[in-house]
Amino acid sequence: MTATTAATPRRLTIAKAMSEAIGLSMSADPKVIVLGEDIGALGGVFGTTQGLLERFGAARVRDTPISETAFIGAAVGLAAAGMRPVVELMFVDFFGVCMDAIYNLAAKQSYFSGGQVRCPMVLMTSVGGGYGDAGQHSQCLYATFAHLPGLKVVMPSNAYDAKGLMQSAIADANPVVFMFHKALQGMGWLGTVPGSIVHVPPEMYEVPLGKAATVRLGRDITLVGLGLTLHLALQAAATLAAEGIEAEVIDLRSIAPLDHEAIAISVAKTRRLIAVDDDYRSFGVSAEIIAGASEVGVDWLSAPARITHPDVPIPYSPALEHPLLPSAAKIVDAARRLCRGKVA
């Protein structure tokens, strides 16, 4: 680990930032181990465990059979025994074969034991589509996880947050579902939104769980995004600024607990809200954002809106999939509609 001056930014991908955070935690604490499919020699299909097998050996970096129920269950047992497992569920879409271990065991271990048996584990999992991988490998399922008590759920939009959220997740005494978006992961073969590759200090640091970040200030409208859609919101904000509409942009970072307060502060000012996520529309993150803001009692200048993937399985053909995804253009259109009459 070499010191880096601010003058020479140390730009990492989210994949590298995650690997680095796990590696630092493993160096600092022998109780941190890694489990999952293809996380050993391969370094993770999405590069989340690069170099860890070589550095920490096969006892602490353990490739598993394709047995998610058993190895995520094992992580719960490891955590109960005081270890700090970091487990990978390769695609979030696979939750259907192992959700009991996640939501009935990990999420409830603390509660059922009256706080006496903790469950310090991280479940990292890839989300998102846009690259033609179709309906069983492109889902987000943010709300599916965030709906269930006892789980913390986070997703970074950039490498700095990825490292800091991973450090926080590993340090936390509770199960944290760490989602990472494939479109931001920085694997060559997936393409990467450049804004996700940012300076990452080499040392350990934490980004707090449960706190959103207001990444752009604006008086006219609040745009809330997470992961990939945060970047779309920022693009849209740039376009809107040229038209005289100043958007405030919030990066959710944590999905559960959701930082309703940060949003409430912003919409109290802007009185306009667009929530943007790439999960299915109904019963999703954007619904929770709008409901949370509405029940506080905002005197809306125009009705809040959500931009999401529609309630349709994610289709394979780019000709079908791309039009369904949130985009900067859709955000701009919606923001213009909400801000109509602003100038008048």
């Binding site: 129920t69 269950g73 490891l78 603390s110 009256g114 048996v117 008590p149």
Partner: protein, 327 residues
Amino acid sequence: MPAERDVRLRMYGQMVRSRCFEQAIKVAYLEGKQPLFNMAKGPIPGEMHLSSGQEPCAVGVCAHLRPDDTVTATHRAHHIAIAKGVALAAMTAEIFGKRDGLSGGRGGHMHLFDPAVNFCCSGIVAQGMGPAVGAALAAKLSGSDAVAVSFIGEGAANQGAFHESLNLASVWKVPVIFVIEDNAWGISVAKQASTAIARNSDRAAAYGMPGNFVAANDVDAIYEAAGEAVQRARTGGGPTLIEIETWRLEGHFMGDAEGYRPSGEVAELRTRDPLITYRQRLVEAGISATDLESIEGVELRVVTDALEFARNSDYPAAESAFEAVFS
């Protein structure tokens, strides 16, 4: 190795304690539920799965365990908790939903956690198996010779988690013992209607691990089979599967009319009640009636005290429901 005299007496005592406990719980559970049975009423709400008849499985296995060994159990867990040494008064208070319960009333009958003896249970069939593999891996990684034991029913042996967990345990060669309590029934479904083969222990071969079958609910035989398995696990020999023929002397849960069960089955099993037969065997082995009665007296008192403790404990404050969601 056959059980020594003092081990046998200890096992008998635990079987007595467990049976007394289930009988006391049965009575308490029915309070407030008569004449109209309603699960929500009375001092103990919810489903109640009694373990009467299955004591030998718990006792014969746990006789080999230390507090630092882990046990994961099922919806039918009282006998196992008792054999593992879970604090009985706090466990009873938990079942009564009281503040002094193991988790202050949050978990209840199907979610008993006692970290002092590394015991836990869960209500979803077979889902304790993965955690047991994890606990065993933790022991192995830390260089301890502690082991983990996962108890399941024979019905659970057809759940995917069984397969995944046995394979993973074998690939990792971790110190875990899987114990199947075969009471021949999964609620109303007979084993032969749900299971493609006669002996679940034969499934061990699919995972390259030893599989042992113990017939006739025999606590001494269970003790021997478990001793071998625990010894193998402690010394780095990896996992074992043990299948025990046992008997469900009650309904699946309290309130189960058992219309599906062949008439006379339970009556016949009761003639072979392991408490009675084991007592006889001990008498034949020269243990005096006085000694046995003294054990019985002690155990009954322990149970009575636990019930009294539970009844006297307060209900938890409503606000405490919001505590311990996160640690």
